[in-house]
């Protein structure tokens, strides 16, 4: 168990990070913030002498599934994260303080750790009705978000709410729920989508930052490449059944009992970028497909508005199931038109199925 009084530097040294790498982190951080070499030295000095990285965890419009997921982490255990790796100074869900004593922590953190704390955001701000669909301390949540973002080092956008908007932003989005990067535009933002994200992905991200001393490499959409660069389909243990044309046709049929592919039951694994089929859930116990239900793509932008979860991908005007990662990435980034490859892909699958049948 780690000594609680360790500094951030102490923690990362103990995890095998050299002094050189540590300084590299500091300059990378400074660069990512658009600051000069002097700032890098200041950051290094701060991290060597100042303790664990303060984390301010805010809740907007959300359901708290991200926090619930975070505490499910099996490695590292969340108690070790909270006691030894970060300093979770504000999180309305678990903090002992309340009311003005809780609010005082925010001002204190801004003053004492200017540019040094991480802002973790769960949920998003609604912008309709002057922001008053989410009131925090008598004021619109978005005000608090902007204020705390202002002096933060970087922002983690937890889950699909903070990353893309999620369920409250589904049509017609009555509250004007808005993802974080549309409100805060001058800070590095790491999107960790999923409803919720996998626990060990969340803690891996936090410990990556504290261990390797840098922000992770992000894809074009702002997601860490280490967990979001491949599709569920790419690593799915049922993939051989897809390739062999062996599909579940109705719930609980013989094919379902044999663990065949759920593509025809609406599985969105072929168009969903996440780590579920590799890392799996709840300490590696299972993931949706392993327990018989298709993936419905909860880490994808706008997944609530892409038709029924049980519609086969063919009926969704989206991407071809065999489009490669780059094509889909570009499409999602709005670089190319959509609705092109779906039919072709279906034909390809049908052909494949027929060939196997013969």
């Amino acid at each position: 168990m780690g000594g609680a009084a360790e500094t951030f530097y102490g923690v990362i040294r103990r995890q095998g990070i050299t002094r050189r790498s540590f300084h590299k982190f500091c300059s990378l951080t400074a660069t990512s913030l658009g600051l000069g070499p002097l700032a890098a030295r200041q950051i290094a000095n701060a991290l060597e002498t100042k303790p664990r990285v303060p984390v301010i965890w805010m809740h907007g419009l959300e359901c708290t599934c991200c926090s619930e997921s975070f505490i499910r982490s099996a490695h590292p255990l969340v108690k070790d994260v909270v006691l030894s790796m970060i300093s979770l100074d504000y999180d309305a869900l678990i903090m002992a303080a309340a009311g003005h004593q809780a609010e005082a922590i925010l001002e204190e953190t801004r003053a004492k750790y200017k540019g040094e704390y991480v802002l973790a955001v769960e949920g998003n701000p609604p912008l309709n009705e002057g922001g008053m669909f989410c009131i925090d301390g008598g004021k619109p949540f978005v005000e608090k978000l902007r204020a705390m973002a202002e002096d933060s080092m970087a922002i983690i956008a937890w889950g699909t709410c903070a990353s893309w908007g999620c369920v409250q932003a589904a049509k017609p989005n009555p509250t004007g729920a808005t993802p974080i990067d549309k409100v805060i535009t001058n800070k590095p933002i790491i999107k960790v989508p999923g409803c919720p994200p996998i626990a060990e992905v969340m803690t891996a991200l936090v410990t990556f930052i504290t261990t390797f001393g840098k922000l992770p490499e992000l894809d074009r959409q702002g997601r860490p490449k280490m967990f979001y660069s491949q599709r569920i389909h790419d690593k799915c243990y049922r993939r051989p059944h897809f390739d062999a044309g062996q599909f579940v046709e109705v719930w609980d049929d013989e094919s379902a009992r044999k663990g065949y592919c759920l593509y025809k039951m609406g599985c969105k694994g072929p168009t969903t970028y996440n780590a579920c089929s590799a890392v799996r859930w709840n300490g590696g116990v299972s993931f949706p497909i392993q327990s018989g239900h298709g993936c419905f793509g909860c880490s994808e932008d706008g997944f609530w508005d892409k038709g029924s979860f049980y519609d086969r991908l063919t009926t969704i005007k989206q991407f071809g199931i065999e489009a490669n990662a780059d094509q889909i990435g570009m499409a999602a980034a709005g670089a190319v038109g959509l609705a092109v490859a779906a039919h072709a892909a279906v034909t390809a699958v049908k052909r494949l199925t027929l060939n196997r049948a013969e």
Binding site: M1, A4, H59, M95, G99, L127, N173, P174
Partner: protein, 596 residues
């Protein structure tokens, strides 16, 4: 300045007003304001839900088979219970029956949530209202060990164990970075535990944090993940294959063994850690029996955990069903979710608009049009509220009423109703615990009573998981492995129009969903959730809700540090994301606002 509410509370808002916002350690956003008299006793209480998400509006026009996934996202803490309520509502509307195995698996998942949620609520959201973290640093590890071993056979109880933990905590505190323990009310006179009990409870706070992640593996096995496992209209999606080709890809013997081992460990943890802790803590707070509110007057439980599939009548439900009004424990009134006169929602003091706000609306015909208006006596401005005006509209929560009555829901309501119905499984453990603590029955009507009932229910739920897992195995043995009924899966098989409702007992209390389906799409969807009942604002007749009632007449030792308010509000396990999302058929797209 005094006023008598129809439900028997004398309100006086002349004294000093204090505001707690954010009221932390709850799901979502909650604000509480109270007025204190010159002796610092609460004489007026105001609770305000301060968020709204509009999920029912979003549901309109969608496939009813998808509704479980949307409604599940109402809450990630009581994850799964909205989904279960939703599939029940859709099945009720379309006349879909489910196989016995699906009923057992759904029950196991719902009970698993109950166990997990109660554990996490007690240790991580509520315990710090009773347990002083800083005091634990002064404990004698040997005496702590002796205390632990005198109340339980739990093996993690040696002097060395507690000493090691104390060293870690001391270092943590000395670092000056207190993280989640920063700026709290440590040293407050309302903390009554000796240092040793505080240290023991803190050890279990950390152990429960480690253990809770294992409890929900049951959701991962049957539902693929937690939070937010998967559900299915017509049954469950996980197919059973114990002894055939491809069993490794289905629910097989290894999976069933894993469920079984988690059930055993859950029973152990609850009986050897959670229950003894509640008894120890309770014994030091026997004199603090505030917070009763509506619990001794008007309570309600819908009932849940059907023994057999497809029968939701009171006699087939293992959790009690019924309503008790005005303290008449000799009569448990029956509930009909379809009766327009029974469950109704009012908005006179909520930020919504009705054509006639003196009347309530049944959820099938409910309307919700947001209407953010503050009362004339509010202090501050529209977007910087300093003090609310409870004479006007003051909450994003509606005021649901049963035949016009404000009622309390939750574990305590379930236990009192079960007791009133003479059900041994609720009556006996309650009386045993009261006897251990040497307290009368009326002591249950308190914050402590709510906390104790939750612990007893956690034990009941853990054993019921075992019961349904055994039942499942017996069915497999008899050759029945069906898990889904697909006869009416295809929308072509549905009637042109249908309506239905589904209900469960969520960890926090009675939960209902009402659905109308038109031409295979959702026409209207309404949820009335436990915290809507408990956290409700006043209704047009002036009845106060359960949170507000529970705070009345409580003395506050230090108005700057209102620990007593946190303690009582937390005893309900509030869930604000659940309570404040309701929107009806008139909901429409609002003007898009540009990001500033």
């Amino acid at each position: 300045m005094g006023a008598q509410t129809p439900n028997g509370f004398k309100l006086d808002h002349s004294g000093k007003r204090i505001v707690i916002d954010p009221l932390t350690r709850v799901e979502g956003h909650l604000r509480v304001e109270v007025n204190l008299d010159s002796d610092n006793v609460i004489r007026n209480a105001v609770s305000s839900g301060t968020m709204w998400r509009g999920i029912e509006t979003i549901l309109r026009g969608r496939d009813p088979r998808d509704a479980w996934a949307f409604t599940e996202r109402i809450c990630g803490v009581c994850t799964g219970t909205h989904a279960l309520t939703s599939v029940r509502a859709v099945e009720n509307a379309l006349g879909i029956t489910i196989p016995e195995n699906a009923n057992s698996i759904r029950n196991i998942m719902q009970l698993c949530l109950q166990v997990h949620d109660h554990l996490v609520h007690f240790y991580h959201l509520h315990a710090l209202d009773w347990v002083d973290v800083i005091s634990a640093l002064k404990a004698d590890p040997k005496a702590t060990s002796a205390l632990a071993q005198s109340v339980s056979s739990w093996p993690l109880s040696s002097p060395g164990y507690f000493k090691h933990l104390q060293i870690r905590l001391t270092k943590f505190v000395e670092s000056g970075q207190l993280g989640p323990f920063k700026n709290a009310y440590w040293g407050h006179p309302a903390y009554k535990l000796p240092p040793e009990a505080n240290l023991m409870a803190l050890a279990h706070y950390l152990e429960a944090l480690d253990f809770q992640k294992d409890v929900v593996k049951i959701h991962a096995i049957y539902g693929g993940k937690n939070p937010h496992p998967n559900w299915l209209v017509g049954g469950v999606a996980c197919a059973i294959n114990v002894d055939g080709t491809g069993a490794v890809g289905a629910i097989n013997m290894e999976r069933l063994n894993l469920v079984s081992s988690i059930i055993c460990r859950s029973i152990e943890f609850v009986e050897q850690v959670y229950l003894p802790d509640v008894a120890v803590i309770g014994s030091f707070y026997e004199d603090w029996l505030y917070g009763g509110g509506l619990s001794g007057k008007s309570i309600m439980s819908y009932g849940d955990i059907p023994e057999n599939a497809n029968d939701y009548s009171a006699k087939n439900l293992k959790l009690p069903r019924g309503v008790i009004l005005n303290g008449n424990f000799s009569e448990v009134l029956p509930i009909d979710h379809g009766d327009p006169e029974q469950i109704q929602e009012f908005v006179a003091h909520s930020w919504y608009k009705y054509p006639d706000e003196t009347r309530g609306l049944h959820p099938w015909g409910g309307i919700t049009e947001p209407n953010f208006q503050l009362g004339p006596n509010v202090k501050g401005t529209r977007t910087h509220i300093k003090e609310l005006d409870e004479g006007g509209k003051y909450s994003w929560i509606k005021a649901p009423r049963w035949r016009g009555n404000a009622v309390e829901v939750g574990p305590l309501a379930r236990y009192i109703i079960g007791h009133a119905q003479g059900k041994a499984e609720f009556k006996e453990p309650t009386e045993k615990l009261l006897k251990t603590l040497d307290l009368p029955f009326a002591a249950l009507f308190s914050s402590l009573g709510r906390t104790a009932a939750r612990a007893l229910e956690c034990q009941w739920a853990a054993h019921q998981m075992r019961y349904f897992q055994d039942k499942l195995m017996a069915h497999f043995k008899a050759g029945d492995t069906a898990t889904a009924n697909v006869d009416k899966w295809k929308p072509e098989s549905w009637p042109k129009e249908a309506k239905g409702y589904g209900f469960t007992e969520a960890p926090r209390g009675a939960l209902g969903h009402w659905i109308k389906i038109k031409e295979t799409k959702i026409d209207n969807y309404q949820c009335v959730v436990p915290t809507t009942w408990n956290g409700s604002p006043r209704d047009p007749n002036g009845n106060i809700g359960a949170f507000e009632a529970s705070l009345m007449d409580t003395p506050i030792a230090d108005p700057e540090k209102p620990l007593e308010i946190l303690r009582t509000i937390h005893s309900f396990d509030p869930c604000l994301a659940c309570s404040t999302h309701v929107m009806g058929p008139d909901g429409q797209e609002m003007a898009t606002v540009k990001v500033r």
